[in-house]
Assembly symmetry: C2
Homo-oligomer: 380 residues x 2
């Protein structure tokens, strides 16, 4: 076990391999041929992972994932367009805030803290409102840890002739998605989630025809995805200084992703982490917010024990002292916390997490083994 | 000499120390107390470097330096404000493009490729146009390498009761500037210039009273400096995922900056690099674009040799083979190239640069020793 550097049980930044971090022990000139080749390789490999070679292009964007989401919405949705946002947590809500800044029209299907948006609901809204041009959905909404039903939503959106934008920040790299089967105009993700790179940039896999039609839409020079792409095509360079070291780490992370068996291999490990984690936590008396059907292999929300001795900060500090940084919950209705399954976590770490939770509860004099919280999650 | 990893003779990314890069060999949770303390230290130390403790706050911003410039212009200049941009190169022009995206009013004093904007010119423009609320200037315009006369400009701007925004991207850390003497509303810089960190974020040292009055100005959620600051004040965290490893590298870089004697020490080394580089290049027959008065210790533009055998790409490739990545010129009127003086460059490296230039010219059968280019720079 790693006690010097705590494991991050979170949806990113996550614990990366030493070899990924060691890839940063060099400096690059961002306009030099060597770095241009690194950028080209990054884009080609990401496009191949969604079978997008004949339809999509990759545009990396400096900043956090939110920068890439804002760049995508602002560049792809025309000023007279209208967006339907499928909200069930913080990241859907954030897309609403972005649209407020942009001053462009949108409606939300707001399912609250964790209920999934369903195809029949999207179908009704699109049938009733022909002004809607685009639909945005969060693939894995880490607020609750739910894996939203993107395939059924995509089918509905396309049947209505609208365009789909997927915020796949915390899912891409571990949840398979093919542009041939799920016809998205844009899929957005970032370096420091399931690919297990370090944070510093996001990227958008975007349908080339949609991007070609997007000149003049963006509200911001820095976040103009069209302009970023045009410069990349013309020069092979990022338009403004890229986080060179973070890019190098990401290329190493892509190598390690491939060595693990690509998306299928990464998914299998995360899925096993989640199943072992949930089984162990249930044995300790915890309950998950979501039913098994909706649990993602990315992060799981657990209700806090209903016991009077439970205090989140104490639980956090004691878990950290044992080498694990956990993540607070985001529910409005009940106290909760989240445990991530992604990053450099294997059976040994999951076992140690469970042992630590048991020991910390014991220290806090909270009994284990019985259901820790009486509230049953209401799910759709 | 380093032949495995070429030295970067550029205005950033630059060659950093191994210890700065080694600071990235760890993962951090961005909401954890440890990382919050790192962010607080970063801000405090930067504010202290401009004597801004009682007037200014530091707001870091993810992305390249341009993201921080756009965030600053969009947040500080009200929608009904008007900006005077002092342009003499690419970075001033870029501020014009940002204002075009923002749809806010501006005028430019455009001095062309390299002539400095002078106080008397600013004085005339401000006297004639009371609608101008803000003035923006680039401290070191790396397009030519000129160090613009920020002090005389600041005095004029303040005398007219207008607000000053300084893009000090390539200058801060090596050129002393005090908020007590140069009354700026905002000074913008980034991690990977004179502080010798790695690229991934910028920061703004901004007058607190100006920032407090800026709510609702920004056009973009991601680039809303006011919102970024409010979140930082409330939580001690960056609003969206920060480039944690890049931040860690920057803190190490700040330590090494202090060990070198802070801004004065860093300036002395860069100044010596520049003087030795220019002297050596003159001996080889090169001419600088600028007269000594306007040369910065950051980067110097040299005219390409007028000789028929000179070809920039060949020169670049042969210099790279000898361990130095040089930088192309940006002049419209004459062929040129640039050599940076910043980053991990000392006497030994400058000597090696000069030896390499001599050897490459010899290989290209271009005589050295006589003036290599007849064009005399016209300067103000």
């Amino acid at each position: 076990m790693n006690t010097e550097q705590p494991y991050l049980l979170t949806p990113g930044p996550i614990t990366t391999t030493l070899s990924v971090k060691q890839a940063m022990l060099q400096d690059w000139g961002s306009w030099d041929g060597e770095f241009r080749a690194m950028t080209a390789a990054l884009c080609q490999r990401l496009i191949a992972l969604v079978d997008g070679e004949r339809s999509h292009v990759c545009v990396p964007m400096q900043g956090s994932g939110t920068f890439a989401v804002e760049a995508t919405l602002a560049t792809l949705i025309p000023k007279q367009g209208k967006l339907l946002i499928l909200m069930n947590g913080a990241y859907g809500q954030r897309m609403g805030r972005i649209m407020d800044y942009l001053g462009r029209d949108y409606v939300a299907l707001d399912k609250g803290d964790y209920a999934p948006p369903r195809a029949h609901e999207v179908d009704s809204i699109l049938a009733a409102d022909p002004a809607i041009t685009h639909v945005a959905v969060v693939h894995c909404e880490t607020s609750s840890g739910i894996l939203n039903p993107v395939a059924e939503i995509a089918e509905t959106v396309v049947r209505h002739g609208r365009r789909l934008i997927i915020d796949a920040m915390s899912a891409f790299g571990a949840i398979a998605i093919s542009a041939r089967e799920v016809p998205f105009d844009a899929l957005i993700s970032s370096a420091n989630k399931c690919f297990e790179g370090v944070p510093g940039f996001g990227f958008v896999l975007v349908r080339q025809s949609a991007l070609e039609a997007s000149q003049g839409h963006a509200h911001s020079l820095s976040l103009d995805l069209f302009d970023q792409w045009q410069y990349l095509v013309k020069t092979g360079q990022w338009r403004y200084t890229p986080p060179t070291h973070v890019v190098a780490a990401f290329l190493q992370a892509l190598d390690e992703h491939a060595q693990e068996g690509g998306i299928a291999g990464r998914h299998a490990r995360y899925q096993r982490n989640q199943q072992r984690l949930v089984a162990g936590m249930l044995q300790l008396g915890f309950e998950t917010l979501l039913s098994d059907e909706w649990l993602s292999p990315i992060i799981v929300t657990f209700f806090a024990p209903g016991h009077a001795n439970f205090d989140f900060q104490t639980f956090y500090d004691r878990m950290k002292a044992r080498g694990f940084i956990i993540y607070p919950g985001k529910l409005t209705a009940a106290e909760s916390f989240r445990l991530g399954c992604i990053g450099q976590l294997y059976d040994a770490q999951i076992d140690a997490v469970l042992e630590s939770v048991a020991a910390v509860l014991d220290e806090m004099e909270i009994p284990t083994g019985a259901p820790a919280h009486a509230l049953n999650a209401q799910q759709n």
